[in-house]
Symmetry: C2
Amino acid sequence: MGERDEVLFANERFYRAFADADIREMNAVWADDRDDVSVVHPGAPAVAGRAGVLETWQAIFEGEQQVDIAFSDAVAYFHDDVAIVLCTETVMQHNLTATNIFCRTPHGWRMIHHHAGPCNVARRNRGQSRPVLH
Amino acid sequence: MGERDEVLFANERFYRAFADADIREMNAVWADDRDDVSVVHPGAPAVAGRAGVLETWQAIFEGEQQVDIAFSDAVAYFHDDVAIVLCTETVMQHNLTATNIFCRTPHGWRMIHHHAGPCNVARRNRGQSRPVLH
């Protein structure tokens, strides 16, 4: 499996853990060889530090209803041992734009940052504006 | 100047170019040794590729009114030659959370990704939830 497939697989694993509300899997998705990980949930300020990041997921998973989340249009850009994955999230028919950052660790590609925010723009110019896979 | 100061200076330069609507400076802020740069403006889908990214800034700068933007609480996390800067943006008394990613290039630290989204949460738990500078 090439590194692009590995990173896109890690991204898919992240969304599977999210959709399944599986904190054990979510824990495994995030890098455990550093504490400098961070998350920006929609509408929220940044949370940094591994324990704090995992607490946000625990709180989401313990929420009143499971989040029905899907993703599409994932593309990965590589910068040394860091990969930036951009994709569209769909939650209850609302679109969000996500930046997911992964780092190569001794245990493979692991998430070091997630930022998702609302996407309100009709994607009429989709062919032009969506990230193009090189 | 240490690398943390260098990256925070690059972040400051980005916001100065933004506030000044200075497309020449904005061009200089972004990495020019690769095309894999991308941007997610508030409420928008991702735009990738250097030309496309710069076009979004040009469109913003040509907008009806100058964007009165300020930033605060910037912290930088390093992962090899990539730095993730998290900060709060303030535009017309509204807060946004920003993820700014810089890469070490032959010409210094340059931006490779910017993602900003609305921050609606009252920062009552500011001491707890803001990224902590290590």
